[in-house]
């Protein structure tokens, strides 16, 4: 991300085309979801949310047990499990594997986890061609950008953008028709699928009792990546575990509907190990890399560990009025929207991302739509309190803290509060709404008042506060 968060946000807010694209795309996703969870369609939606929350809580609270079970099952089915503390260890493993197998080409299906660790940037300089096969991700790979939204990664690109990217990077004649653009991508990627040595994927779920990787998708690129090449490597955060295959009856009903409004995505793959002896096709080698990368740190806080329940549906993004204005690239990390605002400061620390939990109006839409009932608004509030404490330790919020201390003191002394209210009315201009802009004294223009006025007017302050009106009413014998 270039520039400070604020410059990027400002640029996004000032781009009407981008604003319209974000708004329309997220609006569509919200509508689709609403239809899919309608009581006529899915009468037990709320019950399923509760069950999903219970299952995730149980799994996370007993994570070591399920991690070990998962590994044992994968191995029992002829696969291998690797453990990686960070992105470099993932890359090291893949590079070593590629070297041993003399692999040159990797095809990859969509995985936020691999974005998180910049996997391609670690592999490509070492001579390993790594091709994104999800259409949106492929477009972005060619453009050199990162995803804009979890389920709609290229929502900020027009067909003209795509045409230009394809013609420039693939050397094909300029084509602006999405149907034809898709055919171009299909042909190019098909060659890659069939020539690839290694297929890589993420995991929507890891199933502990089966040693299985579950992938949901609409295009077929995950199936291709996990069927055609000889070797399959799945990378997944340790929090992706669910206890049993049977629990998919709960999670699969929530994921598609919350993400795109689909009862089920076109393909759901349940992959447990390399091809069995009597099976005809499928990979011969199966590796699952379990990634920590800071997740074990989040586990330590009993309140905030629910951030790890996330099943990456993207619903909180689509419903967040802030996301809908500033878009995915305004967030400092690959995870954007409310879930990004909650986990980024925990992963990256307060210096890097302390502003993020404050960039929210706390409207609560995110918590309302989260399929696994993560209390996102509550977590934002907790993070705000923690961040202020941390800032206080470094004296970074000295003035603001002092201001609130003073404010709290005033609020405990009603007569002082009343007096200050009267003074404010006298000192600040009580003119008509628009006049505030001109008549605001210089010293006030830089602070909160100036910030308010930059966007909207203020009404004239009333002559008498309510309590004065009340007293007059009493005197006049009205009550």
């Amino acid at each position: 991300m270039t520039g400070t968060p604020l410059t990027h946000i400002q640029a996004t807010l000032e781009d009407p085309r981008l604003q319209a694209a974000i708004y329309k795309a997220s609006g569509r996703l919200m509508d689709h979801r609403r239809h899919a969870i309608d009581p006529e369609e899915l009468p037990d939606f709320q019950e399923l949310r509760t069950q999903a929350n219970l299952l995730k809580r149980h799994t996370i609270e007993n994570l070591d047990h399920y991690l070990e079970m998962f590994q044992a099952q994968v191995e029992a089915h002829g696969g291998q499990v690797l453990w990686a503390s960070d992105g470099q260890q993932v890359a090291d493993f893949v590079l070593e594997l590629a070297r041993r197998k003399q692999a040159r080409l990797i095809v990859k299906s969509k995985s936020m986890t691999t974005e998180e660790i910049d996997l391609r940037d670690r592999l490509e300089p070492q001579g390993l061609e790594t091709v994104e096969t999800d259409l949106g991700e492929y477009i972005l790979q060619l453009a050199g950008e990162r995803p804009y939204h979890i389920v709609a990664p290229a929502l900020h690109k027009t067909r003209e953008d795509v045409g230009e990217i394809f013609s420039r990077r693939l050397g094909v004649p300029l084509e602006n028709e999405p149907e034809k653009q898709t055919k171009i991508a299909r042909a190019v990627l098909r060659e890659k699928f069939l020539a690839a040595d290694i297929g890589m994927s993420g995991a929507n779920f890891l199933v502990a009792d089966s040693g299985a990787v579950v992938l949901v998708e609409n295009e077929g690129n995950a199936r291709m990546s996990t069927t055609a090449p000889r070797i399959l490597v799945a990378v997944a955060g340790i929090e992706k575990l669910i206890p049993r295959a049977q629990d998919l009856a709960v999670f699969l009903k929530l994921l598609g509907r919350s993400a795109t409004g689909q009862a089920l995505t076109v393909y759901t793959s349940f992959l447990s190990g390399p091809r069995r002896e009597t099976e005809i096709d499928g990979p011969e080698e199966f590796y699952v890399i379990l990634l920590d990368n800071g997740r074990s740190k989040l586990l330590a806080d009993p309140e905030k560990r629910q951030s790890l329940f996330c099943i990456r549906c993207g619903a909180c993004l689509s419903h967040c009025p802030v996301y809908r204005k500033i878009g995915g690239h305004s967030y400092p990390w690959v995870y954007s929207g409310p879930i990004g605002a909650v986990i980024t400061p925990q992963f990256q620390g307060i210096q890097a991302a302390g502003w993020l939990p404050f960039a929210s109006s706390l409207c609560g839409a995110c918590g309302e739509v989260c399929p696994v009932k993560i209390e996102l608004p509550q977590l934002l509030l907790e993070l705000r309190a923690e961040i202020q404490k941390a800032r206080a330790r470094h004296s970074e919020n000295r003035w603001e803290k002092l201001a609130f201390r003073a404010w709290a003191w005033v609020m405990r002394h009603p007569r002082i509060y009343e007096m200050l209210g009267m003074m404010a009315g006298a000192v600040l201009p009580g003119a008509s709404p628009g006049d505030w802009r001109e008549r605001l004294p210089r010293w006030a223009a830089r602070g909160p008042l100036g910030a308010w006025i930059s966007q909207r007017d203020l009404p004239p302050l009333p002559e008498r506060s309510f309590r004065r009106v009340w007293r007059e009413r009493l005197r006049a014998g009205k009550s």
Binding site: I9, Q10, L13, Q19, Y23, P321, V322, K325, I326, F358, A359, S360, S361, L362, C363, G364, A365, G367, L381, R384, A385, E386, I387, Q388, E400, K401, F404, R405, W407, A408, W409, V410, M411, R412, P414, G421, A424, P433, G434, P448, L449, A451, W452, S454, Q455, R456, D457, L458, P459, L461, P462, R464, S465, F466, R467, R468, V469, W470, R473, S479
Partner: protein
């Protein structure tokens, strides 16, 4: 005659006293005696939302003291009500005495429209308002207190009033407390989306249950030069 105590909230006290007055008029009209504990100030939400919990607690303790003996407490704000009902218990989790005070007070605390419908059991307050209005669903009221149908039922009984829903109705106006001044560009952007939705209804007024939202929406409408007024629900119901 049954008694209610008003917690008018700092914003209505200082910026929109007419809302407090309207609330009194409506409550008296339906047969309540209204009192106003003068030591009241604020519920503590601004400090709490900004992450200053200790300061919020100080103000909250003052609130609990002031309203300790009130029979019913009526509040013309969803966000203040939600602050007290939903967040005070967490704030005082480690202070048993104040936790108990909170527990004793919250069952007696009501947001204004909920008080009318669920305690006073009144849906028609004999109001008259000639005009087309639209309604803004304030986030805290909507999502934390379930306030959606209630105000619409009350407005439905106001003679002469036509209600036109805005699309989308449930999207945040962009106020969000200190968010409005910490991230003014985003807040303004959200506000502009909201007033566009309001403008599209052709209504002459937007009605809501939270004056903080209305302050922000009103400011946006004025800056955009749109001739739409903001009215608190109490103000509409007070009209005859």
């Amino acid at each position: 005659m049954p008694r209610v105590s008003l917690f008018v909230t700092c914003i209505i006290d200082q910026v929109f006293p007419q809302v407090g007055l309207a609330m009194c008029q409506v409550l008296e009209r339906i047969g309540y005696t209204v009192d106003f504990p003068e030591a009241q100030t604020c519920c503590g939400q601004p400090a709490f939302n900004t992450g200053y919990r200790e300061e919020a607690r100080q103000v909250a303790r003052h609130f609990l003291k002031v309203f300790r003996d009130a029979e019913h407490i009526v509040v013309p704000s969803g966000s203040c009500t939600a602050m007290i009902v939903h967040h005070y218990p967490g704030l005082f989790a480690n202070e048993p005495r104040w936790l108990e005070e909170t527990g004793r007070l919250t069952p007696r605390l009501w947001e204004f429209s909920k008080f009318l419908l669920e305690v006073a059991r009144v849906e028609d307050v004999g109001a008259r308002y000639d005009g087309v209005v639209t309604f803004h669903d304030s986030c805290h009221g909507l999502r934390e207190l379930g306030i959606k149908e209630g105000p619409r039922r009350l407005l439905g009984n106001v003679r002469g009033l036509t209600l036109r829903e805005m699309e989308p109705a449930e999207e945040c106006c962009g106020f969000g407390g200190t968010f409005a001044v910490k991230f003014p560009e985003i807040s303004g952007g959200m506000g502009r989306a909201k007033i566009e939705a309001i403008r599209s209804t052709g209504a002459g007024a937007v009605v809501g249950i939270d004056s903080s939202c209305l302050l922000h929406i009103g400011g946006m409408l004025s800056r955009a030069g749109l001739d739409v007024r903001t009215l608190h629900l109490a103000e509409v119901l007070a009209q005859q």
